[in-house]
Subunit: 159 residues, 2 copies
């Protein structure tokens, strides 16, 4: 009887380990992923309808944006001017694909890709994709704001 | 007497507020700044002497690098190949200027500029500057590793 109990215990062990391993390998949703995705959707919705003040409001007061082919842009009013200029230059149909969100404390880092179209005045429309890193900061009160925003090109530039 | 005490208290108040404001405005060194700068120096030292394995060892196992004009590069061996290719293409004299480090929990975000020279085989040397965002992750054991690494160009590309 005692031997049977020991045998039963040992027989059950691998099943327990297997379940633990399966659990460890299951995708874990980072707690910042939901707010990051929600704020990203708010960004594209606001940009695509032309509400650039609402875009700028998603950034922290001390945000830095790093547009390619230029210097850093610091502060919310300069960031609003950057996005207004980008939209005026013909950017439209902006959409983000979030690939990864990893948070610790009051910082979260998001990696992803952004698809958009460029249609300068009187010119043909072109589709573009960039890859990006956005660092979010959770401010007092709990709101996540964009703290660092940088992207660059996917494909080799045409020669 | 009581009135004098009240008066003294009120007179002292602005001085206290002034001191608090001065203290709040004093530059606060982020606790991650020293390790980030040390690891950055280790990166440039290793790169400039051609020890690309030591460069790759500064990245976390799950690091993502975002080189301009290409796709993301994932994992340490692919990252080592990226930097070996970059050095073979003529990059040298790499130096970082750290502009800001902000940490929370086990993440730290660094903003900065990188200066380097490009000298492809049998071609003239040129100086370049890029701006970057590097996200560092503190791993079990306390070591800070590069988790996300992205940069882009400063000046408009020549037409």
């Amino acid at each position: 009887m005692r031997r049977n109990r020991v045998h039963s215990f040992l027989a059950a062990l691998p099943l327990v380990l297997l379940n633990s391993a399966s659990f460890a390998e299951a995708p874990k949703a980072d707690p910042a992923r939901a707010p990051v995705e929600k704020h990203g959707a708010a960004f594209t919705d606001a940009f695509n309808r032309g509400d650039i003040a609402a875009v700028a409001a998603l950034y922290s007061d001390d945000a830095l944006v790093f547009p390619p082919d230029g210097d850093m842009v610091q502060g919310r009013s300069a960031i609003e001017a950057l996005w207004k200029g980008t939209r005026d230059a013909g950017m439209k149909d902006l959409a983000f694909t979030v690939l990864d969100v990893h948070s610790s404390g009051n910082l979260a880092v998001e990696a992803g890709k952004a698809d958009f179209k460029m249609q300068p005045a009187n010119q043909a429309e072109s589709s573009q994709t960039v890859k990006y890193v956005v660092v979010w900061k959770r401010e007092k009160g709990g709101a996540w704001k964009v703290f660092r925003d940088i992207w660059n090109s996917m494909a080799p530039a045409p020669k």
